[in-house]
Amino acid sequence: MNRFQMMIAILVFSCGAAGGEPTTAAQPTLTLAGARQVIAAALEAAQRLDAPGGSIAVVDAGGHLIAMERLDNTFAASADIAAGKARTAALFRKPTRVFEDLVNGGRTTMVTLPDFTPLQGGVPVTEGGLVVGAVGVSGAASAQQDEEIATAAAAGFAAAPRK
């Protein structure tokens, strides 16, 4: 048996052994009640920071909207932008600030990614170390404040008592 054949044999053997491994894994999902907790924490932060308005979107781990609220007098486009930030944070499992920094730092090609919103203000929502969704904020006083509210919302959810 040459070295290549031996490697194949080992590979086949280990694949066989993998047959006993679990084929599915439990993934916690954000419920509507959970999404509302995230929004409540965002609204609290918006009030504390004296935000002039804001759209807050909460998505699940697949980037699909669970809940969204646009405060009175917040510009219309912010609704879609908030959802886009949340979706990007959920699908990449990173705050969107990371991508804003990358793009501004010279990696302009990144904007060609499909369905991608590299604007700060999107933050993953986690439970037990797993990303269960994300929150996106747009339409506050500045991009900086959008992110501050989103970060507070995700932290508020993490700190909320669980049933």
């Binding site: 697949g62 909207l65 969204m68 646009r70 405060l71 009175d72 219309a76």
Partner: protein, 287 residues
């Protein structure tokens, strides 16, 4: 003066005249959007339907959205699409579904339209101020649920002197503990408490309370030591001297005359649901 300058001058004159007479229209608030969605959600719950409810403004942009647990994820976008269609074309989205189904395939080319039943325009003072879109169940069910939301807005903004509040709208209000009706002469609240409140004094409003569910310790009278004015005629505080405690149980009625301090000191059994009617004395009528 050459022709171009003349044209510009005419244009400016026309614009100035128009600016003076721009029409004013009402906009949908987040609070109204939530009321509409809550009524639709109550109807969905009654039917055990799993749906997404979206409310958009008159330009078709989302104001509020909620996806009920277990509703298909694709419905989040579809609900927004249906609502946008109803908002920007100022008619139920069903109209386009019927056009396409009956052979007018060209309706598929309408810009920004989703020809799917389940989107209804929200109309206030004869103008479309937004729309509600529902997705997740059958087309007819989606529209029926959307209509329950629409009815809530019609009730809340009705010009008729008689107000009829459908049981679904009332149940939805109690589920969230929100006002049912507020006028300059009286307020009607579907109140809900899960914990103690602040000490309250209303200078103009008398509280007439009817307890529906739960148990609470209610303190009335005495003197507020740290009262702050939070709104015209509204005083709130956290420390009360004196006063008497009354246990409130379902079926009890309590009347707190205006100017009397009162305080839900403890909720012994939550949720504590109570129906409140608040006649407003003349001095506060305008506020």
């Amino acid at each position: 003066m050459n022709r171009l300058i003349l044209t510009l001058a005419t244009l400016a004159a026309v614009l100035n005249a128009a600016a003076a007479e721009l029409p004013v229209k009402k906009v949908l608030t987040l609070e109204a959007a939530k009321q509409v969605a809550a009524a639709a959600a109550a109807e969905a719950q009654r039917r055990h339907a799993r749906v997404v409810i979206a409310v958009v403004d008159d330009g078709g942009y989302p104001v509020y959205l909620e996806r009920g647990n277990g509703a298909q994820v694709a419905s989040s976008q579809v609900a927004i699409d249906k609502a946008r269609t109803a908002a920007i074309y100022r008619r139920p989205s069903k109209v386009f579904e019927e056009q396409v189904s009956s052979g007018r395939a060209s309706a598929l080319a309408l810009s920004g339209a989703a020809p799917l039943q389940g989107g209804l325009p929200l109309i206030f003072a004869d103008e479309v101020v937004g729309a509600i879109g529902v997705s997740g169940e059958t087309p007819q069910e989606d529209e029926d649920i959307a209509r329950a939301g629409l009815d809530a807005l019609t009730v809340a903004t009705s010009a008729s002197p008689v107000t009829y509040l459908d049981h679904a709208a009332v149940a939805a209000a109690f589920a969230r503990g929100v006002p049912l009706l507020e006028t300059t002469e009286y307020k009607v609240h579907a109140s809900r408490r899960t914990g103690p409140g602040q000490i309250e004094v209303h200078e103009y409003e008398t509280d007439i309370v009817y307890v529906l569910e739960g148990e609470a310790d209610f303190v009335t009278g005495g003197r507020v030591l740290d009262g702050k004015v939070t709104a015209p005629g509204e005083i709130r505080g956290t420390r009360l001297e004196g006063g008497s405690v009354q246990s409130l149980d379902p079926g009890d009625v309590v009347v707190v005359p205006r100017g009397t301090p009162h305080w839900f000191r403890e909720i012994r059994q939550a949720p504590f649901l109570y129906f409140v009617v608040k006649p407003i004395a003349a001095a506060g009528g305008a506020s």
